[in-house]
Structures are given as structure tokens and as C-alpha cells.
Symmetry: C2
Subunit: 450 residues, 2 copies
């Protein structure tokens, strides 16, 4: 079915929901992807939403819920009675389910889990014990494993039994008697193998794996590096779960958003739907902090009030110098933040990077400094002013570049949340730095400036 066909089915489904035609709706539901059903759901009026929920079978509803945003997921689960919700939750990916339950109070978790099958509920409870943003939280138990003394034939048999249950991934994992992961075989190789062969003899013994406490960012990196579609999770050597590539994609997206938030200090998890008051509340702490830091700039200027009142023209170049210093700092920051995502840094790398950025700062500083010196001279007709502005810019751009490089590296080294090294903070710090340099130089030359 092509996309345009799907469009027609969506319209048919909409029509069926409006006219309360269950059969037509269920026929159409079969032809629309869960992602698109979820998109449709959020745009419906409450009464049609109810109908759609009623028309979806458990499995389909589980798929749709997985595609909704967190708040809507909660809303749907709360609309269902405990038993219905339990059946649906039995069929959801456990890692997705855990993300939802985490948002709830203990007693609501208990209530919801009480509707689930006992063994499934137990698995979910176990997942909830892993720290957030670790491999343990991303893993599913819906995959197929066999002991190494199974034959190929027995393995295919087990797959047949569990086919409804397992995620659509394409490997069977092999464990020994201690439940330790010892190998893997692709479905492709299973097809090509002889039914009588022992799995232990045809499996691949090289299996990339992660331990359950691995940070999710490192998990995503492994998917990228080794071009994986799934990654088994172990505790010690014991196989405890499997992470699939769709989770790695989500993590990559999440981590990229976090980096952008860092650079903009925009406050975590503000999106198009966030309410104004909540968005404002998330941004305000940063802004108020920056306001006070900005006042430090003001108090620096006030220290140089005499200089400034003698040569008001100095004020003309203040925003440019402060702005440029902030900009170079942000540019360096971006390079460092991006670099820290994709590679490990050792002393050698850090030294080389700082040296590189120093040189960059020098080139940029000298270029812009000479340019502004000429402009200032031509504009204000004062060669000393040109010299003061130009030499200030050279110095501040070198320092600005280094600050944008070194501050995030230090924070990274100290394992302090690098969110602190946000763009606006670097910009504001560079403001202060640049004013000190600028007015310092100007004050030294004050007699020649007037």
C-alpha cells in the first residue's frame, strides 16, 4: 500500500468514527499505521476519541499508545478500566510502559499493574529499578533466546511459538546453562542452516553487548559505530534484556535536543505544546541568574564612570566588543559540545584543541581588531580611539575563544552537568571579561583619548 492509499483509509476511518460505523472503522484501522492512528487520535473530538479507543483491539491500541506523547498516553490509560488497561499494557513494549509509569504516584502504578499478567507486571517492576537514562531502562524482554544445545530445528520451533510475542528483530540469542550470553544467530543464517545442527555450532560467538547500567548516550553510540539493529543487555554475563535500534534513534534525538537546550539555556523540555506559564517558569531561573551577572557588567562600567564621562564615544563600541566576544565564545562552545558527543577526550586531545582554538582566536582577533581600528579611526577621527578599540578586540576575542573552549572542558572533566556551560552563560561571562579589558585599556590611554 502506498502513502496515498493510506490517506484514503484515514479519511474512511474518520468518516466511520463520525457516523459510528464500527465495522468500517475496524477495516480502515487495519490499513493505517499506528503512528498515523496516534496523530489522528489527538486531533479528534473527545466523543470520537472514545469511539476509536473502543474500536481498537488490545494489540492495536498498545501500538497506538506507544506513538502518543507522554501526557496523552497517561490520559488514554486512565480512560480505560483497570482490566482493559492491563490487557493493553501486557502488549506494550516494557521500556515504553516504564517511561509512562515513572510519571505516576506509587498507588496509581500499583493499580495499573494489578490489571496486568503477573509475570509481565513483575518484569515491569524490575525495569523500574534501573536508573533513568541507562541501558536497563531501554531494554525489552520481548526477544527470543535459546540454550546453546538446542538444534536449529528446535530454535525455529521456539520462534514459531513466540512470534507474536517478540519484537520484530532479527536475531536469536544463545545462552549457556548459567543464562550467560554466549552467542547469536541471525534469522538469515537460521534459514540457511541445517535443521539438525546444534545452535552452539552455527552461532556467532562474537556478540557486542552492554551492561545494564551503561549510559543511554553510550548505548546510542554503539548502535552507530557497529551498525547494529539490536544490542543485548547483560548483568555480569547474564543476558537480561535487549535494546532495539528504534530506541537508539529516540535517544539520539533526545540527546541532540539536550545539547541544543544547553547551548540556548532554553530550559528542559519546552516544546510547541508547553503552556506559557510553565515555559516561562522553566526559563526564568536562568534569566534571573543572567540578569544578576549582567549587572556585574553594569557595576564594571560604573567603576569606569569617569573614563566614560570623559569620552562618551567609548560607549559606542561597547555593544560591538561585548557581542563579538560572546559570539566567538559560543562558536567555540558549539565545537566542544559537538565534539564531546562523538568522541572520548584524553589529555592529548584537550591540549591540541586548546592550542588550536588559541590560534583560531588569534587569527580572528587580529583580523577583526585591525578592521575595527580602521573603522573607529575613520568614524570618530581619533587614531588613539582606533588603537584602543582594535587592541581590546584582539585581546577579548582570544580570551573569548579560550573561555568558550576551556569552561565546558573543565565542567566535563569535573563531571558537572555541562548544561551549566550554556551559550548565554558563556556570552554573559565574556561580556564581563570584554568590558574589563576594554575600559582597562581605555583608562590607561585616557589622556591621549580626550
Amino acid at each position: 500500500m502506498s502513502q496515498s492509499n493510506e490517506q484514503q483509509w484515514k479519511l474512511l476511518l474518520l468518516d466511520a468514527l463520525l457516523k459510528e460505523r464500527r465495522e468500517q472503522a475496524q477495516q480502515a484501522i487495519e490499513e493505517v499505521y499506528p503512528y498515523d492512528l496516534a496523530k489522528l487520535y489527538v486531533e479528534l473530538e473527545p466523543v470520537e476519541q472514545e469511539r476509536l479507543l473502543r474500536y481498537l483491539d488490545h494489540e492495536r491500541l498498545a501500538d497506538v499508545i506507544e506513538e502518543l506523547e507522554l501526557e496523552q498516553q497517561l490520559e488514554v490509560l486512565r480512560r480505560l478500566d483497570v482490566e482493559h488497561a492491563g490487557h493493553v499494557m501486557d502488549l506494550m513494549e516494557n521500556d515504553d510502559l516504564v517511561d509512562i509509569l515513572e510519571e505516576l504516584q506509587e498507588e496509581e502504578v500499583d493499580r495499573l499493574l494489578s490489571g496486568m499478567r503477573q509475570d509481565e507486571a513483575l518484569v515491569v517492576r524490575n525495569l523500574l529499578t534501573y536508573p533513568v537514562e541507562t541501558a536497563g531502562r531501554l531494554m525489552t524482554n520481548r526477544f527470543i533466546w535459546v540454550p546453546e544445545d538446542f538444534t536449529v530445528g528446535e530454535t525455529v520451533e521456539k520462534m514459531r511459538d513466540y512470534i507474536e510475542y517478540s519484537e520484530t528483530i532479527n536475531y536469536v540469542y544463545v545462552v549457556n546453562q548459567l543464562s550467560e550470553l554466549v552467542g547469536v544467530i541471525s534469522y538469515r543464517n537460521l534459514i540457511l542452516a541445517n535443521n539438525a545442527e546444534r545452535i552452539g555450532d552455527v552461532m556467532d560467538r562474537k556478540v557486542i553487548r552492554v551492561s545494564a547500567e551503561t549510559d543511554q548516550e553510550d548505548v546510542a553510540k554503539m548502535f552507530e559505530r557497529y551498525d547494529l539493529v539490536s544490542l543485548p543487555v547483560v548483568e555480569g554475563d547474564v543476558l537480561v534484556g535487549l535494546i532495539t535500534v528504534d530506541d537508539a534513534l529516540d535517544v539520539l534525538r533526545e540527546e541532540a535536543n539536550e545539547d541544543i537546550e544547553k547551548l540556548a539555556a532554553s530550559g528542559k523540555s519546552i516544546d510547541f505544546e508547553t503552556k506559557p506559564l510553565i515555559a516561562a517558569t522553566r526559563r526564568l531561573p536562568w534569566l534571573i541568574l543572567l540578569l544578576f551577572i549582567g549587572l556585574v557588567s553594569g557595576s564594571i562600567i560604573s567603576q569606569f564612570e569617569e573614563t566614560l564621562s570623559k569620552v562618551v564615544a567609548l560607549a559606542f563600541f561597547m555593544p560591538m566588543i561585548a557581542g563579538m566576544t560572546g559570539n566567538t565564545g559560543t562558536q567555540s562552545l558549539a565545537v566542544v559540545v559537538r565534539g564531546l558527543i562523538t568522541r572520548e577526550v584524553d589529555k592529548k586531545v584537550v591540549t591540541r584543541l586548546i592550542l588550536r582554538e588559541f590560534r583560531v582566536g588569534l587569527i580572528i582577533g587580529v583580523t577583526c581588531g585591525i578592521l575595527i581600528a580602521i573603522i573607529a579611526y575613520v568614524w570618530q577621527g581619533n587614531p588613539i580611539l582606533g588603537l584602543v578599540v582594535g587592541s581590546s578586540l584582539i585581546i577579548t576575542l582570544i580570551f573569548g575563544t579560550l573561555a568558550g573552549t576551556i569552561i565546558p572542558l573543565i565542567l566535563h572533566r569535573l563531571k558537572i552537568d555541562p548544561a551549566i556551560a550554556s551559550g548565554p552563560l558563556i556570552t554573559t561571562l565574556n561580556d564581563i571579561l570584554s568590558l574589563l579589558v576594554y575600559f582597562g585599556i581605555a583608562t590607561a590611554f585616557i589622556n591621549h583619548l580626550m
Copy 2:
């Protein structure tokens, strides 16, 4: 094999390379992943690099090259003679190969392709005709397709024949007599099906597909939405290639980096390895532009020279007001840039977003405005100054928030490269805006200020 085992094999390989022990090296090579071989390669001295290249068989070398950075890929291919390079290129993913060849002059492309198998070279030449950053450029021809009247048995037979050739993906695509994509069957379902059944009867007719000219960012989005591991590419309905999830991961990483570059105006593709002069050259155009825009701020201040010389204390609050306006703009920009990645925007969304940001700006502006009014009053003992600074901040924060929201939306709408709406540009524009408002208000109240 666990990771620590691999570490031992790497050491063994290093040892074998230093001592020129071919057999030991080749044994170790088997146990180390291509990504890690590539990492090892770049750290070797030239003479050991030569040796490693010599010890790797064609297939393994192809895998290793795919894991190298572009410059190193070129270097390795140039080190090999044409015939050797050709054999290796035959075995490389075509989409990766195309990324390399694109960097070269026509005649070097011809020379390299001349060593390849004719049919493979033809496929590569064809891929080169698709525009960069489209689905056509990401696709491979290494996948398995069968006509719909094949039986399951014949399909498994074809897989057996092409197993070395196909990427490790897990679907067989089905075409009709016109080569049009009509269905798909997972390896899993092939295992479970009866050998005598016709593929056309057991395949899934719902196949998500993209056309070859689709933007790569949209391709990555489809992988995320529909949790795909592979995505067939069509022209019209004719199946022309396949995109695998590892490419989607790369695209996501690339696009995230681009967004960060946008926000920081840090200049495309500067990483830890970029030479200082090149890094400086890439950043300078932006900086010089921003320098001139910064001078506009200066000329605005010079317009208000009289006001400023009468009340020098006005200068104390200049950096804070300009900085805060820039910060709120950047915060809004980040939300918009992130939002535009993950969702389509229509008029309704845009209106709602602008209204939301207006309200956020109002809340932030009033909060910070009142705070600074009190501070200014206490600090300078001048209630009118407090009023001027506070009311200016309220107005500039509202405008700053709106500018950070509306400018990128307009650029997006005009299909102008949103890189223009970079963080520093918004910051610098907001600087100008804030100075106009601040000095405008101050001049109006000048008689009460003195």
C-alpha cells in the same frame, strides 16, 4: 566474545604489526570489529598502516574504510593500486562510496571506477546523479528482491545465492513484472512459511516507501516514526534501492550537528581535527557580518550621545538589557529550531506558538522588569531611572522573545536556509532593538532623570 577479549586481540594485532607477523595479524583481525580496526589504523605509524592494509583481505578492508573519516578514506584508496582499490570498492556500500567519490575530480573518479566491476561502477555512477542529502544518495543496491510469483522455496534459494552480497537486513522485497514494489516479507515470516507457497500470497502488501528525491531529514523521520530497520526507495512505483537504519542514524547525527551549528553560527563542519586557519576562515565571515551589525548598535548609541552624556548611569544597564534581550531571543529560537525538526507546522501551529511566546515574553518581561526596577532604584537612588530601566526591559524582553520566534519561522516559510537565523544573529539584532527602546524611553524621561 566480550569487549575485554577484543581489547586483548587488539593488543595482539598491534604486536603482530610491529613485528611484521602476517599470520598472527590476520588471526587477530578476524576478532576485531571494523570500527575498532579503523580507530587503530589512524593511530598507527605510516609503516604499520601499510602493513595493516596489506594484511586485510578485500572484504575486511572495505568494512574498515567505511568506518574511517572522509579524508582518511581518500588517503587509503589512493594508497592502493587501481585494481586493488577496485576490488575493495566493489565490496563497499555504494552509498558510502558515493560520498567519497563526490569529493574528487572527474578524472580521479574515472580512474577509480575503472578498477571496479562494470555493473558495480554503473550503479555507483547512477547514484552520483541524485542530489546530495536525498534518499537517492543514501540507498544501496545490496538487498534481495524477488518477483511475486516466486515460491517461498525459490526465495530462500535466491537468498542463499546472494547472502554474501546483501547487507545484513532482514526483509525480502517483492516486485511485479513492471519492477514495481508490491510487497515485503520478513526473514522471520519466510522461516515460518511453507516452501511451496507463492510469495505473492504470503507477503505483506503494506510497504512504507520513499521516493528517491525525498530529503534525507524526512527519511530519518520515517525511520523514527515507523520504527523501521530498512526503507525501500522508489521512482514512480519502481523499486530502485534500499536505505538501512544505520544511514538514518548517521543522518540524525548530521542534522543535529547542523542545528547546533545554526544556533552557534560556528561554521559548518569544524571539528577537533580542523586546522586553525581553516576553522578561522569558516568562522570569520559570520563574525565580520556581526561586527558590522554590532556597529549599528554603536551608531544608535551615538545618536543618543546627548542623553548618555547627561546621565552616564544609563550606560551601567546597557549590557544587562542588551544581554537579556539576546538571551530570551536565543531561548525562543532553540524551541522553534527543535520544533521544526520534529513536526510539520501549519498556520494553526504557528499562530498558537507565536501567541504562546508572546505570553511567555510578557511573564518573563514583567518579572525581570519589576526586579530590575527595584535594583536600579536601590543602587542609583533614582526612582525614575528604575522606572526607565524596568519598563525598557519589559518591552525588550517581549520583543526579543517574539523576534526569536518569528524570524526563524519566516525564514522557514520562505524556504531560506534557516542557518541565517543563527543564535548570534538573533542576539545581535536583539541588541539593536533593545538599545533603541532603552534610549528612546530614557530620552523621553531625560528631564526627570537628571
